[in-house]
């Protein structure tokens, strides 16, 4: 039973949190509301509360969105990004998961040192090694290819560490029982380890998706052809075009933002688990 003082404190705290969240939500609400307006209306509403109110639902309500979806390749960029994310999620789970499993369960020389190196790699920012990646991919002749984009993105020290942390707690006797059930090590990994670790698989998938969706630097270096561009690069290309209106720009930004918001709201548990189990944040 809460005391009166505790109840009062809870009310104050709730009010403060609502005000704080509104402060962070204002730009998003503004973006969303104006993405349905023509440029004239955006300018007119700029200095009033109407800037946060969407226009009345009429025939031209979705004009900005329709223009973007029909006159630009934005749908293609979105589909490209979804495809890259799907491929990277699958490959990332396999490669980083196997590495994490080895570090957690297989005894091999210098295992702890390998783990230390991987942990050290977690603190190296992507930007510092991106030139090496670029030169490497260029040398292999893979610039402007899907493989060239995906290859350096597969291995992720953060994900390896995340998998390792979770796999360490898997009981060894399940592996022993599986061995007696004629289960090969590879089959064990796919039919036992991954299904038993659904939570970390979900966490890694979410982080990978957000990484791919939000990444700008690496795809901007690798891709030169319009067909392969990602949503973020597409966003830049569309918004920097002179013919794109402010309303259309806001519509593109909304479309790029919505998947991220959906993912965050659906998988906030996994994201928090990832942060809690490793003490760090990715994506």
């Amino acid at each position: 039973m809460l005391t009166r003082k505790q109840k009062r404190n809870n009310w104050i705290l709730t009010a403060v949190l609502i005000i704080a969240s509104l402060f962070f939500l204002f730009p998003v609400i503004w973006m969303l509301a104006n993405s349905f307006k023509p440029d004239v209306a955006i300018t007119n509403d700029m200095n009033s509360i109407s800037a946060f109110v969407p226009p009345a639902l009429n025939g031209s309500f979705f004009d900005n969105y329709i223009t973007i979806l029909t006159n630009t390749s934005f749908v293609r960029y979105m589909l490209n990004t979804l495809f890259y994310a799907a491929v990277l999620i699958i490959l990332g789970i396999i490669v980083n998961g196997l590495a994490g499993y080895a570090l957690a369960k297989i005894n091999f020389p210098f295992r702890e040192r390998w783990l230390m190196i991987i942990m050290l790699l977690m603190i190296v920012p992507m930007e510092t090694i991106i030139t090496i990646h670029f030169l490497f991919i260029a040398k292999l002749g893979l610039l402007n290819t899907v493989i060239g984009y995906i290859l350096p993105m597969i291995v992720n020290p953060f994900n390896i560490f995340l998998f390792r942390q979770v796999f360490t707690s898997l009981p060894d006797d399940i592996y022993e029982a599986a061995q007696l059930d004629h289960c090969s090590p590879v089959k064990y990994f796919f039919t036992m380890v991954l299904p038993m670790s659904k939570s970390v698989v979900a966490t890694v998938s979410v982080f990978t998706f957000l990484n791919v969706w939000n990444d700008y630097l690496w795809p901007s270096l690798v891709f030169t052809s319009g067909d392969l561009l990602t949503a973020q690069i597409g966003l830049n290309a569309i918004t920097s075009n002179e013919n794109t209106t402010m309303g259309q720009t806001l519509a593109v930004i909304t479309m790029v933002t919505i998947p991220v918001i959906i993912i965050y709201s659906l998988f906030s548990k996994q994201i928090v688990e990832g942060v809690v189990s490793t003490g760090s944040k990715e994506g």
């Binding site: 022993e176 004629h182 036992m192």
Partner: protein, 365 residues
């Protein structure tokens, strides 16, 4: 050669000075139920895991059905195992847990179904068939683990403390079920436990281990009646055997507190070489308080004050100080004594065990 043969098997872990298991020799007959029993860290689970193939054998040889198995992978040894923590696959239903091994062994689907149905029925798991392990009780989980082991029709069952996570009542019923299953399936079973009651009630033969060394191997009653050393005598039987450091003067045993008891000439003669004393052991049930036994052994009557009692229902344990140690007498439920009562008792001379004070080995009478 036995069905399972362990010859001079040793286990030494890296970076340790001592062997976890030393010179383990055992021949197990087909269809035999063997229990490895001993205190924690005695090497019983390690030995079982070496038989299973989960631990490398440092030296010595292991044969199963005449074939040397030292280097054979666990899955090719023809064994099934029930683990202490059940080791069920948490994301699979009861049915899938049981049939998983058969699927991997490429058994035809109709055969898998037949065997799974049989296991589910025999273990009373019909209504839990589609549940996952997290929705089962400890006893049900243990049954699933047993089901997984029996469907594969292997010749050897290994059980690593399978009942240790269950409550006392369930343990008794599962003990029964495992014994019944063993009789029905006729497989060779090696059962590891630290609970001597489990070993005594289930096994054809018991192997008692301490510090990685076999102390004695034999049928349960053989171990109970003729323990090879003080450790076995103390480990088997509940309450534990009473031990006294005694001196001998002719036919008279003199306890530390100067109480005396008379021995028959035949026994005293065999103990005459222990001039400096020896260890005498007697089980609680061989300390008698009834009038008939008191009358028959008037020269060896002892007195003590009861300082604790355990009412077990079917019998009573009476605790008292005697011979310099806390002793326990196990009497029938009709022999009621209370704390503070002075009781008279006799220690049955023919039921006494004697142990060499230096080696602690039993003196053969």
């Amino acid at each position: 050669m036995g069905f399972i043969e362990l010859k001079n098997v040793c286990k030494k872990y890296d970076k340790t000075d001592k062997n976890a298991v030393t010179d383990f020799n055992l021949s197990i007959k087909e269809k035999e139920f063997i229990a490895f029993v001993g205190p924690s860290g005695c090497g019983k689970s390690t030995t079982l895991r070496m038989i299973a193939g989960f631990e490398e054998i440092s030296s010595g040889e292991l044969y199963i059905d005449g074939k040397k198995m030292n280097e054979t992978a666990p899955m090719d040894r023809g064994i099934s195992m029930v683990f202490q923590n059940y080791a069920l696959y948490p994301h699979m239903t009861v049915e899938k847990n049981i049939s998983y091994g058969l699927k991997n062994m490429k058994v035809p689907a109709d055969e898998i179904k037949r065997k799974t149905d049989w296991a589910v029925k025999i273990l009373g798991l019909e209504e839990y068939r589609y549940r996952k392990p997290k929705n089962l009780s400890g006893g049900q989980r243990q049954r699933v683990a047993l089901g997984r082991a029996i469907v594969k029709n292997q010749k050897v069952f290994l059980m690593d403390e399978p009942l240790s996570n269950l409550d006392a009542k369930l343990r008794v019923s599962m003990r029964n079920e495992i014994s019944k299953l063993h009789r029905e399936l006729g497989s060779t079973t090696i059962y590891v436990t630290h609970d001597q009651v489990e070993a005594m009630t289930m096994a054809d033969r018991i192997v008692i281990m301490k510090d990685g060394v076999i102390q004695q191997t034999g049928a349960p009653m053989e171990l109970y009646e003729h323990p090879a050393n003080k450790f076995v005598a103390g480990f088997i039987g509940s309450p534990q055997m009473n031990f006294y450091n005694v001196r001998l003067d002719g036919r008279t045993i003199i306890f530390k507190d100067n109480n005396k008891a008379e021995l028959p000439e035949t026994i005293a003669g065999k103990l005459s070489k222990y001039k400096n004393g020896l260890i005498m052991g007697i089980r609680g049930e061989d300390i008698k308080l009834d009038a008939q036994n008191l009358d028959l052994n008037t020269g060896s009557r002892q007195k003590a004050i009861i300082d604790n009692t355990e009412i077990m229902g079917n019998e009573n344990n009476l605790y008292f100080e005697f011979g310099g140690v806390t002793s326990v007498a196990r009497v029938s439920k009709y022999e009621v004594s209370h704390i503070g009562d002075t009781v008279e008792f006799v220690m049955m001379p023919h039921r006494m065990h004697f142990f060499d004070p230096e080696t602690e080995k039993a003196v053969v009478l």
